[in-house]
């Protein structure tokens, strides 16, 4: 099982009844697997804040609940997180938060443990798929025992590695009784002051109990070297240094101080091996214990066994140098509707304030139209900020671009702000009817729920009108002529406007290509216009004419619409 599948299994076995999440690599597959189990209600929420509050409500009502997100999702969810830490739980509540060391699919490399410390929420961290299952269940026990939400922290490597997992039966804990208790559940100043005291006590009590907690484990071997580690780095330690002494922490916040002091006293040299920030290391140093950490290890990227062999043992295996090979960065797929929209923006020399999704790839050549990317929903508000800084003329060659799922996540608030504060910018919603980047999850505007059942679909056109946008144009993303006309008109307009550029993602299972494009070399004038949008299905023949790889082509016809010489034709599906 993938680490994420194992967490879903653990949730099932723990008797979880409600989960809510917004997709985010590398956490998405937890939801996609949890929904397969009977007895669990699992949903997609529009964002992580909403999802966390749904889980809080379910916990208050007395059942075990879960929310899952990537680490930047925790930023969105941090508002409820900080306060639910005070409130605690009724039914157990777990937040699965996935960090991304190495930044495989994120916009930064933040460390969830730092937020958890600030929010005074305990963190447990598994090292493989089997532990992911077992620790998920332990998280619920700890949550209910200590009256606290618990963060189960994973990383990309754990979430997306598969390992052998044992299965156990589901337990069905009785629902906890709901009792009105405003001193615990209504966080106004008088109550919060008292709960803050409780939270401090809770953390101290957990730290004391952590010294004997079964998921914190000292494995004594050669005592010349001792390593304190947790999570995936534990595996690198076992691979590189199988004989040394290891203190493996399952609970990484709060730390078991006595256990650490005892371990440190038995080993000659103490290393702290943790990816990202020196969270354990700084606390160990604060205890007055000498240790070696980030002065020899990096705070960036993933670790590996070789990295530890080099840093700790000074071993440098003789390796072949990597060959010089041209880089292969990710690109928009053949038939991607964003390419079509971007080709028009490029032609009109319009800059785009960008957002989070596949369409962030519009920043790089050959499209090169996206200028900024900050976080979910930021495209619209940053464009607004530019206008307020420099005036409406300044943004006449700017738009904001945002996907349909991201728009519903947090973009809609920003659009409301534009209308309210009399902005004049243009927002293009790149509506491909799915959450593309994370692997095609449904959302509030697709008409389908996480369990595949049909449901009400938010109409983006109506939504924009409802919040006061008077000019909303819905355009087929591949109708480049109309798109160009509409963009020119709307950008020139001295009022907020929205263009919904629609066409489904070419990777959707329901996507039916119009056919396949093919090139006629005898008509090709080698002008290269078809190559400008950078479709990977197009290559040049030796003589400079264009060839189209039929196995890759999705028949969108964008290249054909750019050819003035009829050298590209569409073979329609079924012809």
């Amino acid at each position: 099982m993938l680490g994420n599948e194992a967490i879903a299994r653990g949730a099932y076995e723990a008797g979880v009844k409600v989960t809510s999440a917004y997709p985010g690599t590398p956490s998405t597959e937890v939801s996609e697997n949890v929904v397969k189990y009977d007895g669990i209600y699992a949903e997609w929420a529009p964002n992580e804040k909403v999802a966390t509050e749904v889980a809080i409500g379910a916990s208050m009502a007395g059942v075990r609940s879960m929310t899952m997100m990537k680490m930047v999702g925790l930023n969105v969810a941090s508002d409820p997180l900080y306060t639910v830490s005070y409130i605690g739980v009724n039914g157990g509540m777990v937040l699965v938060v996935a960090d991304d060391p190495g930044i495989y699919s994120s916009q930064n490399e933040q460390d969830t443990r730092m937020i958890a410390r600030a929010a005074m929420v305990p963190v447990i961290e598994p090292s493989d798929s089997e532990e992911a299952r077992v620790f998920t269940k332990r998280a619920y026990e700890l949550s209910e025992e200590y009256d606290t939400p618990v963060i189960l922290r994973t990383t990309t490597r754990l979430a997306h590695s598969q390992g052998v997992v044992n299965l156990e039966e589901r337990v069905e804990p009785d629902d906890k009784v709901y009792e009105r208790n405003i001193a615990k559940n209504v966080m106004m100043p008088g109550n919060a002051i008292k709960r803050h005291i409780f939270v401090e006590e809770r953390l101290n009590r957990m730290a004391e109990d952590a010294n004997t907690l079964d998921i914190n484990r000292a494995e004594y071997g050669d005592t010349k070297i001792g390593v304190i580690t947790s999570g995936i780095p534990y595996q690198y330690v076992k691979e590189a240094l199988p004989d040394v002494s290891v203190l493996k922490l399952g609970l990484v916040h709060p730390l078991p101080k006595k256990l650490i002091a005892e371990f440190a006293g038995k080993v000659e040299k103490l290393y702290i091996v943790e990816e990202l920030e020196p969270v354990i290391e700084e606390q160990v140093r604060a205890m007055g214990i000498e240790c070696i950490g980030k002065e020899i290890f990096t705070v960036q990227g993933e670790y590996s066994a070789n990295l530890l062999r080099k840093a700790i043992l000074g071993q440098q295996p003789e390796l072949e140098a990597p060959a010089q090979a041209p880089a292969r960065p990710p690109i928009l797929c053949p038939g991607c509707p964003h390419r079509s929209t971007y080709s028009v923006l490029k032609k009109l020399k319009i800059h785009a304030a960008g957002d989070i999704g596949c369409y962030t790839l519009g920043a790089v050549n050959p499209l090169g139209v996206v200028d900024t990317t900050v976080c979910m929903g930021a495209s619209i508000s940053t464009l607004h900020g530019m206008e307020k800084a420099k005036g409406k003329e300044y943004i006449k060659n700017w738009v904001a671009v945002i996907g349909d799922s991201t728009f519903l996540h947090t973009g809609v608030n920003s659009l409301m702000n534009m209308v309210y504060n009399q902005a004049t910018g243009t927002v293009i919603i790149l509506d491909n009817s799915t959450t593309g980047m994370t692997g095609h999850q449904d959302h509030a505007a697709t008409g389908k729920m996480l369990n595949g059942e049909p449901t009400y679909a938010v109409n983006l056109d109506d939504l924009c009108h409802a919040i006061g946008v008077r000019h909303v144009e819905v355009v087929d993303a591949f109708d480049v002529e109309r798109l160009e006309k509409v963009i020119k008109t709307e950008v020139a307009r001295d009022e907020v406007s929205v263009i919904i550029a629609q066409s489904p993602c070419a990777l959707l299972k329901s996507f039916v290509p119009k056919g396949k494009c093919y090139a006629l070399p005898e008509k090709c004038k080698k002008c290269g216009q078809c190559l400008v949008p950078g479709c990977p299905a197009l290559t040049k023949n030796e003589d400079g004419t264009v060839a189209i790889d039929e196995t890759m082509c999705n028949g969108c016809g964008l290249c054909m619409s750019r050819c003035k010489f009829d050298a590209i034709q569409l073979k329609k599906r079924g012809e």
Partner: protein
């Protein structure tokens, strides 16, 4: 088996490397090994360079394969073979699909696609080139090229052919079982 075996699958996002790694996972678990697989999801899957690691043995700790450790490197594309060849052990086997997919850095003219990759790598490693796409088109289905590559890899690994067939039957979508088994046979016969 005392020593852990290391397999790497590299290719271009969208080529279907994940299916192949899952079949490898299935066959190694079926043989009673401890197995770890590591995949890449998310942004890198969009036409970028992708890597999957499969490690199996008595007890596997680290889920990734590092430089100089791979027993078998399965490359779905020539340039990706070149990029990751240094992950091979000196006596490792490189199975390479003899296909060229230009990365955007080549399409835009920033770099040239290297010539003579297979010849160059053959001087250092045992290389098994396969024209998987050509063979797949002969079968009338371009999408099974990855199962043809798998067939070649299977011939270079230590599992019974029947076991492979079983795992393929259990892993691929039911409607495509026959086609995939045919493709596997083609690959198995090449190596």
């Amino acid at each position: 088996m005392a020593e852990t075996k290391n397999i790497m699958i590299v290719g271009v996002g969208g080529q279907g490397t994940l299916l192949t790694s899952r079949i490898l996972g299935g066959i190694t678990i079926g043989a009673g090994y401890d197995v770890k697989l590591s995949e890449v999801h998310g942004m890198a899957q969009r036409g970028g360079s992708v890597v999957t690691y499969v490690r199996y043995g008595e007890k596997v700790a680290e889920p990734i394969v590092e430089e100089g450790q791979a027993d078998v490197l399965i490359a779905f594309e020539r340039l990706e073979a070149l990029r990751y060849a240094h992950f091979l052990k000196k006596d490792g086997v490189l199975i390479v699909n003899d296909q060229r997919i230009d990365p955007m850095t080549v399409v835009t003219g920033a770099f040239e696609y290297p010539e003579g990759i297979i010849e160059q790598l053959s001087q250092k490693y045992k290389v098994v080139p396969v024209d998987a796409m050509g063979e797949a088109l002969k079968l009338g289905n371009s999408r099974v090229f990855n199962t043809i590559i798998l067939g070649v890899a299977a011939k270079n690994m230590d599992f019974e052919k029947e076991a492979w067939v079983e795992v393929i039957k259990n892993t691929v979508p039911p409607k495509t079982v026959d086609m995939n088994l045919k493709a596997f046979e083609v690959g198995y016969a090449i190596a």
